[in-house]
Amino acid sequence: MSRDSENGAPGIQGIRMSGIVKVYPPDVLALDNVDIMIRWGTIHSIIGENGAGKSTLMKVLYGITPASAGRIFLDGRQVRFASPRQAVREGIGMVHQELMLIRSYTVWENVVVGSEPAAPLGTLKQAEARARVEELVTRWGLNLDPDAVVGDLSVSAQQKVEILKLLYRDASVLIMDEPTAVLTPQETSELFARLRQLNQAGGTIIFISHKLQEVLDISDEITVMRKGKRVMTAANEGLSRTDLARAMVGRDVVFAVGRQRSEPSGRGGTVDVGMKPRDAGSPAARGDERPHAARPALEVRGLSFTRPGAVKPALSDVSFDVSRGEILGVAGVEGNGQFELVQCITGALKPDAGSIRMDGRDVTGASVMERRRLMCSVPQDRKHTGSAQTMSITDNAIMAHHRLRPSLSARWRALLDPRACRGFCVDLMRRYSVVAPGPDAALAQLSGGNQQKVIVGREFSHDTGFVLLDNPTRGLDVGSIEFIHRQILNKRSGGAGCLLVSADLDELLALCDRILVMYEGRVAALLDGETADREAVGRAMLGLELSPEPGPGPGSEPEPEAGAEPRTEVGSE
């Protein structure tokens, strides 16, 4: 891993990028005259909001994207990388945010592809390749089977294969692009231990992230970028999250978009949003609560689903409630059934067994449109499911409203009133602080954060008692995340029940009243949001501990608070 650096004067030992400019035609300035110095043997983090240019800068360094202007020096010697291959030859390797692996190939095949040892006629020297990979696995304690098929491995193991690819190519500089986005806390600390180990062996690590605490944990030096410019570079001494966030956003950021829990009794029902009392005679109502409000926003019972052709069920006997005025978080390593759960709730998938009730009504077999009267939903995939990128903001803003909101229609229900639609959009853009050229601009022209505000605004404008949120802040900048978190909390205090599926544990811990952890399609644990910590959630995510299966007795309530969640069941009949 170590790198000689005899040539060049002291002080310029390392990678220096000087005056880097990147313009995406016609007029997007992605990198604006960036100077950065990465010294050999350091762990150097680059942080910034989405679109700040940190990934672009690294793509320039790695030879994926040509810079419009600027120079790169290694130890004072100017280099020019036209392709990743040339960067690799200089010992620079990159682990992409999206893992670049052939899923049907074995570990060793993935490692060697592109740099295969071959005999004449191009015959692969399989034994030699495999042995080299095995040797690297042993030397770095990676705990991988060279013959395992990559598609069968966990995400964190796949990431190790990516690192292995770089080690195989003798990379001494590792660029890690948001490597922790897909990892559990335990896996993250394992990764950090590994990066430190590589660093101690002389390797240089460039760590890209927008998670401030991680950056503070691992870095020697930190560079902050904002809007294509380098804002600051500092040694990681005495820096705080607040310092970094201020540099990233350019203003103070409030971290404690806290829960400010509504008092426990309120969670069941003090709130209601224009709901018509339907069964006024219900004896269950206590005090001044309206009877319907006591009904959970969402009741899921015994939900099971197996994908056609799959052996393991994606969901197996999942049961839980979301009360009104509550945010129930769903945590889990990606692919443990969260996606299928969301799809069953939205109506995109038909479950094999079980029932779903919204506001007391059975919607298990209901169409998507019928469900939309009872729920709103912010999907995971902003670009494809959440919006139509090439259509205007107005068109995107009125989706679903165009069917459910008579005020958007002209005299005939089948015709939309363009002026009303535009007005609806303008109002939405104002309320959700959408920065855009105007309501007629194509959604694709907006930044990710503003697109998401349009989507969240559209969905939250539905007056429904149940809100489904699937990774609503994925890939957004700190400022937009803060805004959307506030909106979610507003929705909760407005009395809606929210189901928040998120891969971001910090988000769940900050917002949720309760956290449900999924593991292999089951409810692995149901934790109290107030007392849960990363460790406990992380253990449940890895399937290391299953919550005690509560029996029917009253003592087994997950929350002791008097009857707050009488219907909660944890994955058992």
Binding site: S83, R85, L101, I102, R103, S104, V113, G114, G122, L124
Partner: protein, 289 residues
Amino acid sequence: MSLALELVRSSLLAATPVLLAGIGGAYTYFANVFNIAMEGMMLIGAFTAVAGSYAARSWVVGLAAGIGGGLVAAALFTLFAVALRTDEFVTGTAINMLALGGTTYALRQMFGVRGAFMSGQIQAIPRWNLPLGPVLGGHPFVVYVALALALVADWHIRRTRFGLRLRAAGEDPRVLDAAGVSSQAVRAWSIMISGALCGLAGAYLSLGYVTLFAENMSNGRGWISLAVIILTRGRPLGILVMSLLFGLFDGIGMSLQGTAIPAQLTQMVPYIATLVALRVYSLRSRNEH
């Protein structure tokens, strides 16, 4: 010679063009190129082979011209589908139409005939009298080349550096690009290989199977190859077996021609067999789930 022996002999002869095109298509299959132009590349190869053999009075030139014709068609496909990123399906369809119309037109313009062009000046591919018995011996040597190529392709795709990159390009081209190997180049290579082999298949048709060129003489064999490739998921040895099966049914169809069954029906036999095979395969793969 007994009828059964004759049947097996003729099935080997009929299987060869399907096998050659199928091996070529295996490369594009693994590179995830939707190559429906095999029919057209084969037809062009058949024509240029006859033209070359006729003009030079040499089967060597004819064979080279056949392969060259397939390569030119493949280059056209590569230019549009890989370099200019047009739709593979539309491009392939266009090449098939170009091949049919172009060869028919050239046949009339260059040789002044309609339907078929025959001449003593066309030199056929020589037969090898290998001491392999009555079934395997005495075929045009391309038959043996095709059988050998099936084995070579199997090794080439599974065991070599090129094969590893080829399959990677098909499964996820970004990974290969990130590893510093141009996936576009690998895809282009796969199309060129398939073009050369389809051209060879065409040359075999017009200089080995028969010694003439007839309009649309590939007659759907390129499509059969496509079906065979999909059926066998591109494995060359599977393609070998399936091509021989196709040849066998082709031979059965031929030998039924002397009977009371109308020729139109007997000619359908190999195609019906292919349909049945596809259906059996779809049932089997459904059961796997």
